[in-house]
């Protein structure tokens, strides 16, 4: 710092601005950001690989745990692909219930985002208020599915729980309160001076860059790109819903905030339509455990943007390949662009504005250096043997660990 006028500041993997471990290395000149280095991969859990080891039914619950916020998005996206391969036609009532849960999830996700955004710009009051109101929708979700997150309502061929008339009334009651509160938030976000000062002109992404960097979801819509899978490629019951795709021309963090709070209002309308037009009938059809060979790609508009799942089946009860492209992966490149020439103080809100979910995004990245002669692929067994040898060389012996453990358990 003494010698050069540029210095690097590590934001992450552990930092108060980030809710999940991810590394942003900022090159600073004074308060100005000269360059950003983003490194993903701190949260890799190997879910795609684990899916191949489990049956389709088990996979639903695993896929649901990709993300804590948009759990329904991932499981619906996966199930749509499986149902397409199996050629199942899902009952209409089930599609309506999926849509209902999806919109409730969007409401909960956007309210959560509003609070996080408030916290990132040091406006904790907004955080406390919006999270308090978020409890209403969380309670509704708990009432409908039994859980506040990871609802577990999807199953191949339909949904697992029906919705009763009393539950419908509860939802409408909650939605009415939330609508009033959201109107207030729209007022706060568009009129409070310090919020506007911190948000407008920050993290600008213009129309062309949005297309070039392939941003999705509210991030793209805030730059005027009319891109919403619910309209472009309707799934579940969205083709029968009447709603607007909210766009905004600001292209900055302010625009993203406006898009999200206005989307909340649309979501309330969709929830009302779902409840009003929900047809009677069965909620699930029986699907054989073995899915015929084939492959399918499924798209879904998660609260954060377009979620893509690819499933390849081989005629057994386990998938051959599952590939997840979470919305954050599409948006993360745009962050680097948005942060250019901004101030350090803008960094938390710019990153938060894409509503990042790093654990959804993280993949194992293998760096292959073709010039390196030692570069070779290891089999699982070789890697296992190597790890045992590595620890042995350092005086730690894991080889007899299982045996010792068994002995001790039997002894006690």
């Amino acid at each position: 710092m003494h010698n050069s006028d540029k210095f690097k500041i590590p934001v992450g993997p552990q930092h108060p601005a980030l809710k999940e471990p991810e590394s942003f290395s900022l090159a600073l000149k004074g308060e100005k950001i000269m360059g950003v280095d983003i490194r993903l991969g701190y949260n890799h859990r190997g879910i795609e690989k684990a899916c191949e080891e489990r049956t389709y039914i088990q996979d639903i619950y695993l896929i649901e745990r990709i993300c804590g916020i948009c759990s329904h998005s991932h499981s619906t996206c996966f199930i749509q692909a499986v149902e397409e391969i199996a050629g199942v036609s899902v009952p209409k009532r089930a599609l309506y219930i999926r849509t209902l849960i999806a919109e409730l999830e969007r409401i909960h996700s956007h309210l959560l985002w509003l609070g996080v955004a408030g916290h990132e710009i040091g406006f904790d009051t907004l955080l406390m208020y919006s999270w308090r109101d978020r409890e209403i929708v969380m309670d509704i979700l708990a009432l409908l599915t039994g859980n506040r997150v990871n609802y577990g309502i999807n199953t191949i061929g339909g949904v697992r729980r029906d919705i009763s008339e009393e539950e419908k009334q509860e939802i409408l009651k909650g939605i009415n309160i939330l609508e009033e509160r959201t109107k207030y938030y729209i007022e706060v976000a568009t009129e409070e001076t310090t919020i506007i000062k911190r948000l407008s002109g920050v993290g600008v992404l213009n129309y062309d860059d949005t297309l070039r960097l392939d941003a999705v979801g509210p991030t793209a819509r805030a730059s005027g790109v009319q891109r919403d899978v619910r309209k472009d490629d309707p799934y579940a019951a969205y083709s029968e819903m009447d709603f607007n795709v909210i766009t905004d021309n600001h292209g900055d963090v302010y625009g993203r905030t406006v898009v999200r709070v206005k989307e909340l209002m649309e979501s309330y309308q969709i929830v009302r339509q779902c409840i009003k037009n929900m047809p009677d009938g069965p909620i699930v059809v029986k699907v054989p455990r073995k899915i015929p060979a084939g492959e399918a790609l499924s798209r879904y508009e998660a609260p954060r943007g377009e979620d893509v799942h690819y499933v390849k089946s081989n005629g057994t009860e386990k998938p051959e390949r599952v590939k997840v492209r979470a919305p954050t992966l599409a948006n993360i490149q745009a962050v680097k662009h948005m942060l250019k020439d901004r101030y350090l103080a803008d960094m938390p809100i710019v990153v938060a504005a894409i509503d990042p979910c790093f654990s959804c995004t993280d993949r194992l990245i293998a760096v292959k250096n073709s010039n390196n002669k030692n570069n070779h692929t290891m089999t699982w067994e070789a890697l296992h043997a190597y790890s045992i040898a590595w620890y042995k060389a350092r005086g730690i012996d894991f080889a007899g660990l299982n045996k010792n453990l068994k002995k001790r358990l039997e002894g006690s």
Binding site: F7, P16, I121, D124, L126, T194, I195
Partner: protein
């Protein structure tokens, strides 16, 4: 001699001001929480936090300049406590009072900020350094309007002694109304001094962790936190003494109560202000101070110069 020691160490010195500071922090936090629709801490929370921190491990970073790192919290605490000694609470016969002490008080109030800068800078962490540089940058923005607002009140009273000033306003309580613009300016500037929202830029937790305090832990952090509390009390007490010195009108015991209530009211105002705003950026903060606060303070100064001409004729 004994009386002096008593007033330095016990009342209204270190012991009293520490306890008052911790209570004030509790009131600030509780009010902030209630305004945000939260429950807030129980009454003993600030004391428990302080005692807990005293018992925690004290870590000094390898690269830190140990002497500076260790002495910064002590300097800050001493200066903040000393400020309070110069503020007459309920009697005009303050033993440390002299002509010009109002300059001294403002000077003493600046020392904690500089001590935080030194402590943050010498702890060598990047976050600390950015935080401490921000703290000093901010100092240049709020200090000028604060000084102008407070000194314009002194100008009207025609004295540099806080005691004389308080006596003057006690004789002419209505004159306090002329200084309302100055009070508003110094209230906002005090938010900057205390590093509270929207001016909590030097310790913006989502950007630079805890700013200058990042590397501090254990006893030193406890002292720093206590310094912030005492600074809050001393700053609010200064505002009360300059702008609303009504405590001298009453008998000592009642005057004391009035003074405490007034200080707590200022603290409540500060809590209210920081509830309704987002944190500004450092460039926006400096813009705000020079574009809005300084003209207001100048207006107050001009008003008092004119008033002085009118009233003393």
């Amino acid at each position: 001699m004994i009386e002096a020691l008593f007033s330095i160490l016990i009342f209204p010195g270190f012991l009293f001001v520490s306890i008052f500071g911790l209570i004030a922090e509790y009131i600030d936090r509780k009010l902030y929480a209630r305004l945000q629709n939260r429950v807030g801490p129980p009454w003993f929370q600030t004391f428990a936090d302080f005692i807990k921190l005293l018992g925690k491990e004290d870590i000094v970073p390898c690269d830190a300049t140990v002497r500076m790192f260790n002495s910064a919290p002590l300097f800050a605490l001493t200066a903040a406590t000393a400020t309070f000694l110069y503020i007459p609470i309920w009697k005009a016969q303050n033993i440390f009072s002299f002509n010009g002490d109002i300059i001294m008080i403002l000077y003493l109030l600046t020392i904690p900020t500089l001590a935080f800068f030194i402590g943050g800078w010498y702890s060598t962490s990047l976050f600390s350094r950015i935080g401490s540089v921000r703290g000093v940058t901010q100092l240049f923005a709020y200090e000028v309007p604060l000084f102008m607002a407070i000194l314009s009140a002194a100008l009207l009273a025609d004295t540099w002694s806080l005691k004389e000033m308080m006596l003057f306003y006690t004789r002419h309580p209505a004159y306090c109304l002329f200084n309302l613009a100055g009070f508003a300016v110094s209230l906002v500037a005090l938010l900057g001094k205390l590093e509270k929202a929207p001016f909590d830029i030097p310790e913006a937790e989502t950007e630079i962790v805890a700013g200058a305090f990042t590397e501090y832990s254990g006893k030193r952090l406890a002292l720093l936190k206590l310094t912030l509390d005492i600074e809050m009390v001393a700053g609010s007490a200064l505002l009360v003494a300059v702008f609303f010195p009504f405590s001298l009108m009453f008998y000592p015991a009642l005057g004391f109560v009035v003074f405490i209530i007034e200080v707590l009211a200022v603290i409540a105002l500060l809590a209210l202000l920081r509830t309704v705003v987002a944190r500004l950026r450092i460039d926006q903060m400096i813009d705000f101070c020079w574009k809005y606060l300084v003209p207001f303070a100048l207006f107050q100064l001009l008003l008092n110069i004119i008033l002085k001409g009118v009233l003393y004729r």
